[in-house]
């Protein structure tokens, strides 16, 4: 793949109005899509808007749709793409466009603010802290790997196609709620909100979110389904309801 070049068909525009433009740029071994975008930005389009920070898949800034697939641009190698055709790069579809590849993801930050924060039980170890076993925190640690790239939010049809942003917090924040609910020290109860404000019922387990998660979090099986079960246990299990149990 030495000293060849490839064409990148990048969406350019503002607030949803714009068009794809083709840029030809040299490609070399090991390059990722973000490198190509930066090269184009430096040489041909100084004002091409793109978010990035770490260039190593750690910060979740560079989310976009590459050849129609939700991806981190910094972790998408050109050698994995067919370069005989133009590579299309466009912003995430689920969030309002700001400019070029940058979208307005502020909704996500507002959603998080609405979720009840961590509330630990009283410290119970003699040194004023807690004891937790590694095996008891492993599933929470899986959820805490989330880099908030919002790619799962981007693919989830409830948000992408049905625009239920006011009624459904989306897979990212179901993962967040799961991390809190399954935290061994947490004492808060978020089940009523899960059912109502957080709209866990909208999820019909298509698993699209799990497929795109760059951190490999098993969003649906490990986070969403157990949360759905907790809601069912609380609200629909007649015996438990009668006895008033089912709190964690």
């Amino acid at each position: 793949m030495s000293s060849t070049s490839a064409t990148f068909r990048i969406w350019r525009g503002e607030k949803g109005k714009g068009e794809f433009r083709d840029y030809k740029t040299p490609v070399s071994e090991g390059m990722v899509v973000l490198d190509a975008v930066h090269q184009i930005q430096a040489d041909q389009a100084n004002d091409l808007a793109v978010r990035w920070n770490c260039k190593a898949g750690k910060c979740g800034s560079c989310s976009a749709e590459v050849n129609g697939m939700p991806k981190l641009m910094c972790m998408t190698r050109l050698s994995d793409l067919p370069l005989d055709q133009p590579v299309t790069v466009q912003p995430m579809h689920t969030f309002p466009s700001i400019r070029d590849l940058v979208t307005d993801v502020s909704w996500n930050f507002r959603v998080k603010q609405e979720i009840k924060p961590f509330k630990p039980r009283q410290p119970d170890a003699p040194d004023g802290t807690w004891r937790m076993q590694q095996e008891d925190i492993e599933r929470v640690q899986e959820f805490r790997k989330c880099i908030e790239c919002f790619l799962c939010q981007d693919v989830c049809h409830v948000l992408r196609d049905h625009h239920k942003h006011d009624e459904f917090i989306g897979p990212r924040f179901l993962v967040h709620v799961a991390a809190l609910e399954m935290h061994p020290l947490d004492t808060e109860d978020r089940i009523p909100e899960l059912k109502k404000a957080h709209g866990v019922g909208y999820c019909n387990i298509t698993k699209c979110c799990t497929k795109v998660c760059p951190e490999g979090i098993t969003i649906t099986d490990n986070a969403i389904i157990p949360l759905k079960e907790r809601v069912v246990d609380r609200y629909y299990d007649p015996i438990k309801r009668l006895l008033g149990i089912g709190r964690k």
């Binding site: 503002e14 070399s28 071994e29 090991g30 390059m31 990722v32 490198d35 930005q41 430096a42 100084n46 004002d47 091409l48 808007a49 793109v50 978010r51 990035w52 920070n53 770490c54 260039k55 190593a56 898949g57 750690k58 910060c59 979740g60 800034s61 972790m75 190698r77 700001i98 400019r99 070029d100 940058v102 307005d104 993801v105 502020s106 930050f109 998080k112 603010q113 924060p117 961590f118 630990p120 410290p123 004023g128 802290t129 807690w130 004891r131 937790m132 076993q133 590694q134 925190i137 929470v140 640690q141 805490r144 790997k145 880099i147 908030e148 809190l180 935290h183 947490d186």
Partner: protein, 607 residues
């Protein structure tokens, strides 16, 4: 008059990495109104990338550890140029700051008895780094962020500060722009904390992101504060070297902490040669002993791969220079070999170093459980920064505080791995506390309208230049030229002629930066943003080069091939740069206060 919006807070925190977030949380807890500004989205600051861990002498894994050992390790690593008061506070307070994170929801890896697990790291005598696999920074920033958003802090994401206002000798506020829409904003504040991280972007090969253009240093310097120890840049020994597009991306020291070894192209573990005198007594003298150490044997000494970063980086440079490097100009870092010692070695590597496994697999097509990585030095950390008071973190400008990588002092001539994340917590908290106190005790001061107008005009100047044509030039080329200049002339190995070349070059680049132009409009325009970052980069580059020229010895992160040894004549002072008359930087030597008697004894006891 250009249009702008005004916002008012008691305390304004610039930067939302670990230090800024911790400062904002503390100030807010003190009951004052707090604004928090960051260039990226919340939670994306550099802190998110930190891998290996946070250093705190909690003694969970080795009960011989305590603050005195941590203090002594930090001072030895810093070659005794550290602000010893900061090193003392840091060592004493870090354990509480880490436990506090747990109370806010952080989930660190555990010991068998259910406490926070700690791992080995370079320069730390005992296993001291609390961690979560190799994504400790993510855990830390997310914990602070998720706690912080419920504390009533007003967050301005994707905003860049370009100017600090000083009125009547006191800080009065800041000027900045919103990156999304290009709105201009004035922030009035009674005190300001700069927590803007480092200046790695002044170099070509770096582990730092676009944000690290040294804005906080330049803002504080312009406001009249002192910059200290700027010659001390940390080059991390292990960055990726291949493929070219990932050159510089960090390979955590945790790889070596877990047993990874460095070899040259002949397969030799070259780190056993040339161990520095002051570390000889603490370093293993056989491969066997080194392995025992990483396996937790308390009677074994650490392998030479875990010596301080400056030493390891120079040893790697030496192997490459002498023709014993790897194919792409690095050396080999081998963790796969531990499979010969551990029955489930491959699984162990994936468990302990998941993001390294991922990073090499995805970016370099390499399975680190099978083959060695190729690594070489990368610009990583700025030891120097704003000179502050050790207890309060206030700079020499009343009301202006600095914390985290932006402040100088704790690390002296070389930082130990893991001591940054703890620095952010300890001094972020202190800065927030004292900034709030400062604000509560005072009335706000008015900002002169003329100064605001000048700041606004400066912010928009790149567009005017773009429209005017003439000498106008895009900003990226200028930034690349600076990065090449610094990499070549003020990098890991320095000499007088090269540094002078850099200083000349910087003057030329300042001229060019004065013509840096932006096209397009103000909506999310990276060309414009980059043009505005250039002056900060240049201010910092000049300070780095001036100090590097003045320190005619080799110590910590600063290595002069024309003065390759440590010189006792340079042991007693820090170099300080301040904006002098006519706006030119002035350099002076600041004598280090003698170590307090009790601390002197602590150092003696832990030799």
């Amino acid at each position: 008059m250009t249009e702008y919006q005004t916002h008012e807070h008691d305390v304004l925190v610039i930067g939302a990495g670990g230090a800024g977030l911790r400062a904002a949380i503390e100030a807010s807890a003190a009951g004052v109104s707090v604004g928090l500004i960051c260039k990226s989205l919340l939670g994306k600051a550099h802190t998110v990338m930190a891998e290996g861990g946070v250093a705190a002498a909690m003694a969970h894994v080795d009960d011989r550890d305590n603050w005195k050992v941590h203090f002594s390790d930090t001072m030895r690593g810093g070659q005794y140029l550290n602000n010893w008061r900061m090193a003392e506070l840091h060592a004493k307070e870090a354990p509480d700051r880490v436990r506090e994170l747990e109370a806010w929801g952080a989930v660190f890896d555990r010991t068998k008895d259910g406490r926070i697990l700690q791992r080995n790291f370079g320069g730390h005598r005992y296993p001291r780094l609390a961690h979560v696999g190799d994504r400790t920074g993510l855990e830390m920033i997310r914990t602070l962020q998720d706690h912080g958003i419920h504390q009533g802090i007003k967050v301005y994401m994707e905003h860049t500060v370009t100017k600090l206002f000083v009125e009547g000798g006191r800080i009065a506020g800041a000027f900045g722009y919103d990156r999304e829409r290009g709105y201009l904003r004035v922030f009035k504040a009674k005190s300001v904390v700069v927590a803007t991280g480092g200046v790695g972007r002044a170099y070509k090969i770096t582990s730092n992101s676009w944000e690290y253009t040294g804005d906080g240093y330049a803002l504080a310097y312009d406001a009249g504060a002192d910059l200290m120890d700027m010659e001390f840049i940390q080059f991390h020994p292990t960055g990726m070297v291949w493929p070219p597009s990932v050159r510089g991306i960090l390979v955590t020291e945790g790889v070596r902490g877990e047993g990874g070894v460095l070899r040259n192209k002949d397969g030799k573990r070259f780190m056993f040669d040339g161990i520095p005198e002051n570390y000889k007594a603490q370093t293993a003298d056989s491969e066997e002993e080194g392995w025992k150490y990483v396996q937790g044997d308390k009677n074994a000494r650490r392998p030479p791969e875990l010596l301080t970063r400056d030493h390891v980086a120079r040893k790697i440079m030496g192997e490459v220079r002498d023709g014993r490097g790897s194919p792409h100009g690095g050396v080999f870092l081998d963790i796969a070999w531990i499979k010969s010692r551990l029955p489930n070695g491959a699984e162990h590597i994936k468990k302990k170093l998941p993001s390294m496994y991922h990073q090499f697999k995805q970016l370099a097509d390499i399975d680190i459980t099978e083959v060695p990585m190729e690594v070489g030095p990368t610009t990583h950390y700025t030891m120097g920064g704003v000179r502050v008071d050790g207890d309060t973190q206030m700079s020499t400008v009343p009301g202006l505080f600095a914390a985290g990588e932006c402040a100088a002092g704790l690390h002296g001539a070389n930082r130990l791995g893991g001591n940054s994340l703890s620095d952010l917590l300890v001094f972020g908290k202190r800065a927030g506390e004292h900034a709030a106190k400062f604000a509560r005790e005072r009335e706000a001061v008015a900002i002169d309208a003329g100064r605001v107008d000048a700041a606004a005009r400066a912010a928009l100047a790149p567009f005017d230049r773009g429209a005017a044509g003439g000498d106008a030039e895009g900003p990226y080329k200028i930034q690349y030229a600076l990065q090449d200049l610094m990499q070549e002339n003020v990098g890991i190995v320095r000499n007088e002629a090269d540094i002078k070349k850099a200083l000349d070059g910087i003057q030329g680049l300042k001229q060019r930066a004065g013509h840096a132009a932006a096209g397009g409009n103000r909506d999310y325009n990276p060309g414009w943003h980059t043009a505005l970052d250039l002056p900060s980069l240049l201010t910092c580059a000049e300070a780095i080069a001036m100090c590097a020229l003045e320190r005619k010895e080799s110590r910590g992160g600063h290595f002069r091939e024309d003065h390759p040894d440590k010189d006792p004549a340079y042991a007693g002072f820090n170099l300080v740069v301040r904006k002098g008359l006519g706006g030119r930087p002035e350099l002076r030597r600041e004598t280090i206060a003698p170590l307090r008697e009790d601390l002197k004894q602590v150092v003696e006891e832990n030799k």
